[in-house]
Amino acid sequence: MAQLMKRRRFLTRLATGAATVAGAIAGGRLLSGPNLADAVACVRPPGALPEKEFLSACIRCGRCADACPNRCISAFTDEAAKTLAMRPGRHQRNTPVIFPRQQACMLCAGVSGDALLCTEACPTGALQRTAKTAEAIQEQVSMGTAVVDENLCHSFNGASCGVCVRACPFEGEALRAGMWEKPIIDPNVCIGCGLCERACVRYPQAIRVEPRALAV
């Protein structure tokens, strides 16, 4: 009996010890850098806090993704990012992200509610409640800024297109058509919703959203 108890105690201690070591290794890995250590710049849902604060506040619950009527918010997993040759940083896994060329944010146009639905869904304020008015969106939303690659864009290469301009929710302000429908971007008005990138008929896209910088 005493022998048996000894063995049991030994096994228990062994298991506890192994668990502690595993926990320490995992903890050490996580602690080995601040939360932006190996983070990548990505397009966050509207109303998101600056990346560093966002990663602190977000609890990765997925309520924003459930709320999105346009299915543009997905969890930033290795699987989801693979097709775009991206890899989430260690603290970015499962956080909400938008891949505009797959599905862009339509700023809840055409659905009911007086706020952007994902910002209303967030239980931690990682996405800050944003009213569905042009002024509030201009003030609170900065997902990124659109940039045009003039080498790819049809309108810069002798074939007028203008699809991106028609797709812009702030058409004429954020994105307006110049000569031969050349897109002209006003970075002060552009919020980075990505509808232009989604609409672009070129592949690879001639207009795309440059995500906001990681650190301000």
Partner: protein, 350 residues
Amino acid sequence: MKVELKKIQVLRRTVQVSVIVLLLFIPSVSRYTNYVAAREIDDLLEKWDGTLQGESLALIDGIFRGLPGGEKERVGQIVRDREGVLSQTQQFRGGSWSAQLGPISLSDPLGALESILARQKVVRVVVVSLIVPVIATLLFGRIFCSWICPVGFMLEMSDKLRGALRYLEIRPHDMHFSRGTKYVLLVVGAAIAFISAAPVLGYIYPPAIFNREAHDLVFGIFDRAEEGKFGFWAGGLTWMSLVLLGILLFEVFVSRRWWCRYVCPGGALYSLIGAARPVRVSLIAKKCTHCADCIVACPIGLNPMLNKMGVECDNCGECISSCHDDALKYALRLRGGEENVPVFDKSKAA
């Protein structure tokens, strides 16, 4: 009295099963919302008719069209009110980690705590989402574990497999660990959240994993339907579900209810919040015949006969239902009651 308390277990099982159904319902509603918003729903209902995905969509469609504002009349025909349906589907979001049910926002205190510590700032939405869970826990203790937690339910069911193993004359081990582990894990997790400024326990906390996996599973099934493949498919699950399976197998073969008893950081937090709960299991000492059935029944491995149900008890009422002498009941009081003299005492037996 007896019948009434048996009913508590029936009610508890009903709640647990409803929670699981709800956790699968919410991601399906999310997909339904997408299809309605994209005005694809009528085509899909026709195209997917008779398949698992089609029937689920039809069921959800029926529910939301039945709700007030779900239908309207257009040119003499009753049709779905797109706007109305979309505002109703917004009443369901999230899962067991954090959820929105109608006007009520609910967050697991563990997630909210980590978010607050990591951000080092308390904001209004977090506090609002904590109101219901914290008040319920202050009054009733760890009832999330025994009534709501989908993983708790899963593990409770797998606990029954141990009985089956015994029947096959395979004696499952029951290794004991320190109950302090979960408090250590809670403190370590909170410290990591504070130092590295990111919530981390959500990655290993089973209800949070279940939340993500339920979404992955349902979304995976609908993604497949969009590709023209139907039927049930578990391929949307990620390797994280293997963690849940691992815990389950460990509990069946090595240590009974290992996770909930010794490791769960969320359970630890709920225990601490509910430490001073007024609703407790208490013993009527003169009725107790010291049969020890309650000790066997207790999923947390406590001894209700000592009449000192401390922070660990999750008020599941299994001991009350198992008592043949009506000696146990829920009572309103703040501290452990009069001590019952145990007939057998471990310290004396050794």
